[in-house]
Symmetry: C2
Amino acid sequence: MIKSRLIQAAKGDYPADLVLKNGQVIDVFNGEVFQADIAVLDGYIAGVGQYDAAVQTIDLQGQYISPGLINAHCHVESSMACPAVYCMEESRWGVTTLITDPHEIANVSGLSGIQYMLDASAHLPMNYYMQLPSCVPATSFEHAGCTLSANDLMQFAEHPQVLGLGEMMDITGVLGCHADVLHKLDCFSQKIIDGHAPQVGGHALQAYAAAGIQTDHESISYAEAKEKLRAGIAVLIREGSASQNLDVILSGVLKENITTNQLAFCTDDKHLADIRQQGTIRWCIKKAIALGMEPVTAFQLATINAAQIYHLPHLGAIAPGYQADFAVFDNLHDLNVTRVFHKGKEPAFASAPVLPTQPSVHLAPFTAADLVPKLEPDQSYPVIRILPHEIATEKGEYTGTGAQKAIAQGKLCYITVLERHHATGHIGCGLLEGYGLRNGAVATTVAHDSHNLIVAGTNAQDMEIAVREIDRVQGGYTLVRHGKVIDTLPLPIAGLMSPWSAQTLNAKLDKMVAAARQMGVAAWNDPFITLSFMALPVIPKIRITDLGMFDAENFMFYVVPAYQNED
Amino acid sequence: MIKSRLIQAAKGDYPADLVLKNGQVIDVFNGEVFQADIAVLDGYIAGVGQYDAAVQTIDLQGQYISPGLINAHCHVESSMACPAVYCMEESRWGVTTLITDPHEIANVSGLSGIQYMLDASAHLPMNYYMQLPSCVPATSFEHAGCTLSANDLMQFAEHPQVLGLGEMMDITGVLGCHADVLHKLDCFSQKIIDGHAPQVGGHALQAYAAAGIQTDHESISYAEAKEKLRAGIAVLIREGSASQNLDVILSGVLKENITTNQLAFCTDDKHLADIRQQGTIRWCIKKAIALGMEPVTAFQLATINAAQIYHLPHLGAIAPGYQADFAVFDNLHDLNVTRVFHKGKEPAFASAPVLPTQPSVHLAPFTAADLVPKLEPDQSYPVIRILPHEIATEKGEYTGTGAQKAIAQGKLCYITVLERHHATGHIGCGLLEGYGLRNGAVATTVAHDSHNLIVAGTNAQDMEIAVREIDRVQGGYTLVRHGKVIDTLPLPIAGLMSPWSAQTLNAKLDKMVAAARQMGVAAWNDPFITLSFMALPVIPKIRITDLGMFDAENFMFYVVPAYQNED
């Protein structure tokens, strides 16, 4: 029996597999640091104290040893790396547990996408947990790859990697007591249900909490976070590439000295290049300490708090019986990660295989002419106006003549979304201002949340070539100019992820971004990420989907003759 | 659907059953107090904020409202009151949740005793949870009413009132990896396992924690508590009638300012008379505040901490979706409880019925002569020496002649344990010094942990009458003098509990204690409780069981001819 060996090793009567000597142990229970040895057997901690007998001994020489860090909420697909590559990047910076929501791939591939992420992560040296995507499709204003009902999700409810239901973005559905939404919440009421409630407060927040939502990672102010905490909702402080909420939330926490055990750290979406430079949760700890938080408190947020919020009783602490996941740090200021352990071993990612996937780009026949609106000279057209450094957009307005002129001047371009999951032929056409593109086309299958094929371009011919190139490589990023493909990053896994290593992927991305700049895309503007948010109909004020130009404030499509799809 | 009504009530679109207006709400998540109304529907909290529409409105007029208090560990039988009466006493002082261990009745009646406590508590206005007794019998040195194996306990594992396995007192069995003990721990490894590890530290504590023990309520110093916390064991701070550990533990906590979320309050054993005067968990909060703890922190220990330690996600906080359990206090200094709510209603205990029970006293035929040792003049005899105000005893020594003389002088008395569960006829005889009894006999069926019939007396005749009186009433307390029964408290429920009200029971106990004093029992000495611990073989240094006088340091029986039972 394994437990009896662990008990004997704890007593010192049985040699440990590994003894980590002389570490400064971060004690997340008492909020202290103390020097001790850690005895590990069979992947679990046997004891903390003075231990010697071991197969292997590593002298930590007074370095700080923390429980393995926990990223409480992330979307792996947003990194464009496959799970093995993404996990390796997280692991290098001390993360041993990820709580992921495969919302992106589920919008493309449904249950088989979820299964893919489970299979691709099951044998990695990482505790890879999953919250099942609750909102597929995210809205009814576009065509996603599939629709997931409560019954669909329940097929995975008892999977050992599954903890509960992913972020419930359908606030209208919750507050309106829509039967399908409440059914999903009921199905997972004994598990963890994540929320997504940006700027929801007052009675609406009370109702959202009463529905059984347990976490939220959308707070962008301390007041918002505090109101959610008060309502019993754990606050996952987000520090990603686009959204960085740590400073503002923790400044308030420190000022008012509130209880911190319902706070944890997450990234939501963080790009590989940023992870390479900063890490994820280790970066959060470092920022928290810099703000004046007690170092061990910051480690609590990064470890035991997340473990308790997600009911993972074997994770998040250095104590007997806990899984032997550790991150070793040089000191509590630089927070360089010098070693990582997962189940008592230093993680080896090299041999992780990348699984094959099904083709995910299925387009109906089309012509170049289908990709641009048929503008009438005197008709007035709404356009999407990109605002620098903001994810929200403004609505602009051009006549047909004015638009043609602006396109010729490089001020405006076409933007088009093609349904790419079931070859339905839906194509939504529109106009985009402020993207900067002067000549050519940019296309991608990464287009939140339905991940249809989105293409921006100054002429129908380059746009057609770009779309056909994306079809050829079955998803990815491409740049086309003067009738030629400049460069392409294939993302063959659901049109979202690459099997490449982080280094190769980053190098390619850097090269393509530079090429896009040559084509005029503004310097403040990531040419692909900006594009990928143009199809997200839940963010104000104006977007485009495969069903056409969308008024994201009034939740209706613009009725403009030439914009309408012929279907 | 109930949830949709709760959501609508939270939005203010559906009238609440109850709105508590203008309370100072104790926010255990942030550690703050804020003024708000609380809307309650169907026994759950719909929302906290500004609410008006309600069937019933109660204006709290600025009083403090806390989540219902949680007593994290108690033995109801030790109060001698049946569950309905005990719960009423706890409830009056703001407790809405009990985590009980029916260890006493299980030693008498086994599974049917556990079933009795579940049945007797199921419909009370109290969240009555149970940890299944792990150690029945407590030792192999005595005959209990039954033996409970892991498989026996598993019959109750999925009962909605059962949270896990009760205090694992068999430390030797855990550290020695005894198969039956590890089997019990394995069976409950997905639930909560309580510990009982007085003064266990170092490698032994690491091993105990590695075995999966999650809580402990035996710490009597801050250092002991802190070492347990560090090992991942939640510390239930005990403040009962006999053991009071709050001051010493919390003084250390406050001095070192450690994290407090793995601390909760419990009573273990607290007498009805003390509860009447002080309450239980409310008394802990008051003492903690008096020591200098932030009031809301003390409330966290009394509510959310216990709920989280015992995985009760619907309890311990005032937030949407939580059960509507509240205690209302006049202020944070006096802490008088002015109102209590359980599932949104003020608890009504009056109509709680007392269930019938099976007879539990089964004695083999005996004579007066069987109840006293046959002392030989020059033989030396070990005696139990009671130490004032201590539960531990010392070993004394008398010759047969010396003992007879001391008995005549009122310095010594006989002490005898009769097996009472299965009429096996086992009788253990011995001598007791320091009890104070000058003339007569005192007998009881409350005798930890096996609850055999224990009788102390100065002569065999009074002892016989006392034993026959206890047999007649099927368990209880009795006093006999000069051949006559002075008074008897029947405890017909397993020989441990009375169906009487707290008032009646307390009055009777007061009267009998006074009568015992008349018979010479020392004033520092509760005549019944002192006696009830004389048969507990796990506490040093010398005890008596139905198998004879016991060396509780070396875990062996004394071999003295006249002490030996003839069986």
